[in-house]
């Protein structure tokens, strides 16, 4: 076996070191379970929850992790209960949900595009929703919920425009990426212009918003996001098997009894809505959708992008990034989007350097 093989496994379709599946049988049904995926999922879940507890304790008023646990289970003192339950818990719940939504949406996008770069960030969703939010903040002077709406509309319109512009007898992955980069460049110029037109208070508010932030999130942001996740995530997971089979190519998938076009349409719609819901709650947080599925795939050593590990990885990543941002700049002025941008940019560079040795990208 040549030494190049394991790396090919990390970036492509074949998997020489693939984990052996265990099989659950019950009556006439059997279910293949990859043990490694299960372990990775469990570890990611524990990591996300542990960092959530640390994150709840972080801030101007510090609370020890054990006290946080006591408050959460209803045995804390009233002062800490208020801080934990009313102020910090909603923020952390938003972080977990946004991270999970973005991670799963990214996994769906990448599976449909059959390309690790097919993520909403790369096709201009982020700059588009920033433009939408800026229009509402600067030109319409709208309240918070309208800003969310503007961001979602801007992101969806941009994604659609980029997709249509890249269409030429089908969408080729790299053409989509390049058209997305061009569209993002135009939109970022428009965004700079809107920032210049703004007065200073609006400009400061807008910069925080378009970077993606978790500051000041309360239960009113949690509810719509949770509702969207509860509908869309099971829907996507239900199509997970079919989606993975479409990666084998349209003909093979047809032969195996998968309705390819319908599966793809459901996956793309659900992924777009998940991204939109996450953006409405926290702004366009960069790169989670790009990095989470790929990191999860490397950990689980699975041949394709899997939905559930990607969602858990996204949640863990966002909570860790928020914690890192708060620890590095304790005054709380730097939103989490800065941390994920730096993280994602670094990851993309690493991907380019390592994939070059494997002769890809």
């Amino acid at each position: 076996m040549s030494p190049a093989l394991p790396r090919r496994a990390a970036s492509g379709t074949s998997a020489p070191r693939r984990a052996r599946p265990g099989v659950l049988r019950r009556g006439g049904l059997s279910l293949a379970v990859e043990r490694r995926s299960l372990v990775v999922c469990a570890v990611l879940l524990v990591t996300a929850l542990a960092f959530s507890i640390v994150l709840i304790g972080t801030g101007d008023y510090r609370i020890a992790p054990l006290d946080v646990l006591r408050s959460l289970t209803g045995h804390g003192n009233p002062g800490q209960d208020f801080v934990v339950r009313q102020l910090r818990l909603p923020r952390v719940v938003v972080a977990l949900l946004v991270g999970a939504s973005l991670g799963m949406a990214g996994a769906a996008f990448q599976t449909v595009a059959r390309n690790p770069l097919g993520s909403p960030d790369v096709i201009g969703f982020g700059q588009g929703s920033a433009a939408g939010a800026l229009v509402v903040i600067v030109l319409l002077k709208g309240p918070a919920w309208q800003v969310s709406l503007g961001a979602v509309a801007g992101g969806l319109l941009t994604g659609l425009a980029v997709y249509l512009l890249a269409w030429k007898n089908g969408v080729h992955g790299y053409r989509l990426v390049l058209v997305g980069i061009g569209g993002s460049a135009v939109l970022s110029a428009v965004n700079s212009y809107l920032l210049v037109r703004a007065d200073f208070v609006d400009a400061a508010r807008a910069v925080v918003w378009i970077t993606g932030s978790l500051d000041g999130r309360d239960w009113s942001q949690v509810r719509p996001l949770l509702a969207a996740d509860l509908v869309l995530m099971p829907l996507l997971l239900g199509h997970g098997r079919a989606l993975r089979i479409t990666e084998m190519g349209d003909d093979a998938a047809h032969a195996l009894g998968v309705r390819v076009e319908r599966t793809r349409l459901v996956a793309v719609l659900a992924a777009v809505l998940l991204t939109a819901a996450a953006t409405a709650a926290a702004g366009p947080i960069a790169f989670i959708a790009l990095t989470a599925p790929q990191l999860a795939r490397r950990l689980t050593r699975s041949p394709g992008v899997a939905l559930a590990p990607a969602a858990l990885m996204g949640a863990a990543l966002l909570v860790v990034a928020d914690w890192a941002a708060q620890r590095t700049f304790p005054s709380g002025q730097v939103p989490v989007g800065v941390a994920t941008g730096v993280l994602g940019g670094g990851y993309l560079l690493w991907l380019l350097v390592t994939e070059r040795r494997a002769g890809r990208i």
Binding site: V122, G183, A185, F329, I361
Partner: protein, 355 residues
């Protein structure tokens, strides 16, 4: 290397009674004539840039302000605002166009543009650091920071995306990744330091409005040096277009040429960005148009780019002054709005094997 379909037309034999159109001398004459035409165009745009603005004035007043300065309001506007602005636009435009042409030749990448490859983001990150941590306020101060940032990023992006197995996508992605990293840094600084945010948001859109003769004097030596280096690299870059091995066989010194070209790109982009803020797509568009006219010879591409890029930049600046009168649309926005569709058209036109 990109060879536009139009350029192959020069190989067609002409009518028998005239000298054959494909002969080198005829082609050179044609290119020289084109260059003269481009210079005329440039002169026209310069006149428009001096004559058109938020304050409308008659041509006679402009003339008076230029040549019989007597201190009236119109004279002051012409001398203190419009002339420096036009001169800076000329210099910055030429710099961006030449840098884009050199970059596309060096990386053999038709989509190379200083803005897309993160050089601007590098300059921005360095400038915001200078403003916030060292209290820099003058354009001269910006220049050094922008140069340092541009140099660091061009070396980094080229090292990651530009060598051996380079494809346009790799290079563009390396630029995107570096831009994302540096934007994170820039916004972190802006958000912790409100003074820096207020200065940066005006610098960051890319504008010629704050030009003064002092700025022009500050940046001229840097741009001059960069242009000299670029023209010195023109011949060996022609050889590099044929591939590394062939170039070596033809006697081109690869490392020396690459260093020379990188230095030129850094000087030209870093200085132009320091003076006007980040301006995207000028360096991308103009070399493509120019190659359609001249063919792939860098010795013709560079002078053409140096003349036609300011036409685009000053033209965009004039458009920006006219469309939202009496307010102004910054030139960086106009070029982005014009350039984005051109970029997308280029991406769509090319076969995927080349990308």
């Amino acid at each position: 290397m990109l060879v536009d379909r139009d350029s192959t037309r020069t190989a067609d034999p002409g009518p028998p009674d005239t000298p054959p159109r494909g002969s080198p001398a005829a082609a050179d004459a044609r290119r020289a004539a084109g260059l003269v035409l481009a210079l005329v165009l440039l002169a026209a745009v310069c006149v428009a840039s001096v004559a058109i603005g938020a304050r409308s004035m008659a041509v006679g007043d402009v003339w008076h302000g230029l040549f019989h300065y007597s201190g009236t309001d119109d004279d002051v506007v012409v001398r203190q605002l419009r002339v420096p602005r036009t001169v800076l636009g000329l210099m910055a435009g030429a710099a961006l166009g030449v840098a884009g042409a050199v970059m596309q030749a060096l990386t053999r990448n038709p989509l190379a543009d200083p803005g897309l490859l993160g050089v601007n983001a590098g300059a921005a990150a360095a400038v915001v650091s200078g403003i916030s941590f060292l209290g820099v306020t003058s354009t001269t101060g910006y220049v050094w920071f922008a140069l340092a940032g541009a140099a660091a990023v061009s070396v980094l992006v080229y090292a990651i995306g530009g060598t051996r197995s380079a494809t346009p996508v790799r290079l563009a992605l390396a630029g995107t990744a570096v831009t994302a990293l540096l934007q994170g840094w820039t916004s972190a600084v802006e958000l912790t330091d409100r003074v820096a945010l207020d200065r940066m948001r005006f610098w960051q859109v890319g504008s010629l409005a704050s030009a003064s003769m002092a700025t022009v004097r500050d940046v001229a030596p840097f741009l001059g040096a960069g242009a000299l280096l670029a023209f010195a690299a023109a011949r060996p870059l022609n050889a590099i277009a044929l591939g590394d091995d062939t170039a070596r066989g033809l006697g081109a010194r690869l490392t020396r040429t690459r260093v020379l070209a990188m230095a030129a790109i850094t000087l030209l982009c870093g200085t132009a960005t320091a003076a006007c803020g980040p301006i995207v797509f000028v360096g991308l568009m103009v070399p493509h148009v120019v190659r359609g006219i001249t063919g792939p010879d860098m010795r013709w591409i560079l002078p053409y780019a140096a003349v036609l890029s300011p036409v685009l930049l000053l033209g965009s600046d004039v458009i920006g002054r006219v469309v939202t009168r009496p307010a102004e649309l910054q030139v960086g926005i106009v070029t982005a709005v014009i350039g984005g569709p051109v970029f997308i058209a280029l991406v769509r036109r090319r076969r995927m094997a080349e990308l």
